[in-house]
């Protein structure tokens, strides 16, 4: 139900006389859409005083759109967004997304729908940096502020911030980590990318190959995409292993790619012999790290993306704070640090102990 497209019209939130009705509607819709809506009378007064435009603070409705629903990563983004909404008070998060990251057109339509329904702000991750640029512009033209999370657009307007991992820098580090794990000598390595053409994918691929260039003893012998499908990742990894029996290391650039690569390596009976550096931290990835199947995981902070996106958007709408981009940071998870408190806050983020700030 959380994924249905909602076309119902809402009264503009700024209009005071409509506010009560909006709250009623929001509360009624809550059960159906799984959004978060918190009333806090004290908060109203505080924000009203701070509102530079003098408008009533009113409840806010934000559309928060992942690239696709169905992956652990985006579910954590959602938790961060809803946590921020809860803390800000009187903010409804409309969580909605396409079912496949490849469905670029579907996402364009989704953004357009939220422009049509006049939400107060849109926080989203672009499935395609070029294709979504007009959608962002259309929202701005309609007077709806936009904040990007995880993946921005190209071009990205000045007033649109990006709350994301510095993918390129983190991928360079991943290559360094792979070189470190493999040690001296000549080694063949492979790269499982996910969605050729998406900006995040491009940044990770470029960062990784840039990092590899610093290590003469590593040769990239295979590079194939998984299209964010575990079965596909497994298939291409199996075939790369077949073509390169001496393969020593794999860098897999997102959750489904890592899981499929690890499955293929396991099936080939090479677990522990082939170094896998992965990205993201789905439960099975962490289990693979603990068992030694995976050597290290580059863990982003999706909670922080949703959290910063919604928090800053709310501050912008209520207090006129300019929206500015921020790096949401990564953590390199290994067997050594997987059980530390820092890792726990990243792995099981909750609104009680959010991995933010």
């Amino acid at each position: 139900m959380a994924h249905s497209i909602k076309t119902r019209r809402r009264p503009p939130a700024r209009r005071r006389h409509a506010a009560a009705l909006t709250v009623l509607v929001a509360t009624t819709v809550l059960g159906a859409c799984g959004g978060v809506e918190v009333r806090d009378g004290n908060d109203d007064q505080a924000t009203e005083a701070a509102d530079p435009s003098g408008d009533a603070p009113g409840p806010l409705e934000l559309a928060v759109l992942p690239k696709a629903v169905g992956h652990e990563f985006w579910t954590t983004v959602r938790a961060g967004a809803e946590c921020a909404a809860e803390q800000a008070g009187d903010v409804t998060v409309e969580w909605d997304g396409v079912t496949a990251e490849t469905d670029v057109e579907g996402q364009v339509n989704l953004v357009q729908n939220f422009v049509t329904t006049q939400v107060d702000g849109i926080v989203y991750a672009a499935t395609d940096s070029a294709a979504l640029a007009p959608a962002t512009q259309a929202a701005l033209d309609a007077g709806i502020p936009v904040a990007m999370i995880d993946s921005g657009t190209e071009p990205q307007p000045d007033e649109v911030p990006l709350y994301a991992t510095d993918n390129r820098a983190a991928a360079v580090e991943a290559a360094n980590l792979l070189a470190e794990e493999l040690g001296e000598g000549e080694h063949d390595v492979a790269l499982i990318e996910f969605q050729p053409g998406s900006q995040t994918n491009t940044e990770r691929v470029e960062g990784f190959t840039e990092g590899l260039a610093q290590h003469d003893n590593l040769t990239l012998v295979g590079q194939q995409p998984s299209h964010s499908d575990v079965n596909e990742a497994r298939r291409v990894t199996e075939d790369i292993l077949t073509a390169n029996p001496d393969l020593a290391g794999i860098f897999a650039a997102n959750e489904p790619s890592v899981l499929g690569a690890a499955q293929a390596v396991e099936a080939a009976g090479l677990s522990g012999e082939i170094v896998i550096i992965g990205w993201d931290a789905a439960p099975d990835e962490v289990a693979g790290l603990r068992s030694g199947q995976i050597s290290a995981l580059v863990v982003q902070n999706p909670f922080n993306m949703g959290y910063l996106g919604v928090t800053n958007m709310v501050n912008h709408l209520r207090e006129g704070t300019p929206l500015e981009s921020a790096d949401t940071g990564v953590t390199f998870l290994t067997q050594e640090n997987v059980d530390t408190d820092e890792a726990a806050a990243i792995l099981e983020p909750s609104c009680d102990n959010p991995p933010v700030g």
Binding site: D229, T242, P245, L259
Partner: protein, 333 residues
């Protein structure tokens, strides 16, 4: 079409021969392409012609081959099933949850997955026969509804944390042969037998060639057509369970655009979207032709984009040759 004539009791020897020849030629074209590719890859990559690689290809293709078999049955009836990817995902995640959350064995989970597939097939079948909704639309609705159900029951998160035993169907072996390959073989033989050797098979072709003629000749069209969708659903459920088992998790996003792969396999293998034509052996050849292109491309480190172009070319070529040959046969007749 032989079966139609039997149903119509209007058999002409020439038609029968032409039809046989037509089917054989269609499969021959695809099979020839398969053999050429196979030989070429054997020379191009030293790693291609190895037992490990061939078993890999077999296991990788198992799910597509099984679901393409289901699709072929539906296509023969002049139908189409767009819901196979969504239903496979539904069966896979429910199977995975049956093991993880309810603690049942992988066998029970497989049974549950098959029942889910059968139910989806039953709904498809009833929509087509009782509600008179065209197959394209009926299964388009199921494609969306089943995917939505997957997201609702999983909360849009993969089903992880499954025991080792869950991998039996996808990663297990029987006498050194991957279980998935054995299952594909059993399914293919079973359905090929059903289609070619039984009255049910005759009715299936008859309905696809001329539904009205089939009805008038006394076939209980509604019941048989529904049964075809149910059997297809059973296979889709099994396929979804194998796919989940291969990656030891229930993936809510599994099988998006899978319907295109399996329709391509069936069409390359000689099935006609106009109904009444298609055989399981042809579909298997089609599925493995696509699989070989993908395997070969990775072995030779060819980009995914080129692979997609090649698959497109093969679809065009297969159907073009098929049409060409058919016209030739008809003009001669």
């Amino acid at each position: 079409m032989t079966t139609v004539e039997r149903a119509d009791e209007a058999v002409r020897p020439g038609d029968w021969l032409r039809e046989r020849l037509s089917n054989a030629l269609s499969e021959f074209t695809a099979a020839a392409a398969l053999i050429v590719l196979f030989v070429a890859l054997s020379f191009a990559s030293p790693h291609f012609l190895t037992a490990d690689n061939l078993f890999n290809i077999g296991a990788q293709t198992a799910v597509i081959a099984i679901i393409a078999t289901a699709q072929t049955m539906v296509i023969i009836t002049k139908g189409i099933d767009l819901s196979v990817g969504s239903v496979a995902a539904l069966a896979g995640v429910v199977g995975a949850m049956t093991v993880r959350d309810l603690g049942f064995s992988v066998w029970t989970a497989t049974l549950v997955a098959i029942v889910i597939g059968a139910l989806a097939g039953l709904v498809n079948g009833l929509l087509v026969t009782a509600a008179r909704i065209p197959p394209f639309i009926a299964t388009l609705g199921m494609m969306s509804a089943a995917r939505g159900l997957v997201f609702i029951i999983t909360g849009a998160v993969g089903v992880y944390g499954l025991p080792e035993s869950f991998q039996l169907l996808g990663n297990g072996e029987i006498a050194g042969i991957p279980f998935a390959i054995v299952l594909t073989g059993l399914v293919a033989i079973g359905i090929a037998f059903l289609l070619s050797q039984t009255q049910f098979g005759q009715y299936t072709y008859a309905m696809g060639s001329n539904l009205e003629a089939a009805r008038r000749s006394g076939i209980s069209v509604g019941r048989h057509l529904t049964t075809v969708y149910v059997i297809a659903g059973v296979l889709v459920g099994l396929g979804g369970m194998i796919a989940a088992s291969r990656v030891n998790s229930g993936q809510p996003n599994y099988g998006i655009a899978l319907e295109l792969d399996v329709i391509a396999a069936a069409v390359i293998g000689g099935a006609s979207l106009f109904g009444g034509q298609g055989r399981i052996i042809g579909t298997l050849i089609g599925a493995f032709l696509i699989a070989l292109v993908r395997n070969g491309a990775v072995l030779l480190d060819i980009s995914i984009h080129v692979q997609m172009v090649i698959v497109g070319l093969i679809i065009w070529a297969a159907v073009y040759f098929d049409q060409y040959r058919r016209r030739r046969l008809e003009s001669r007749g």
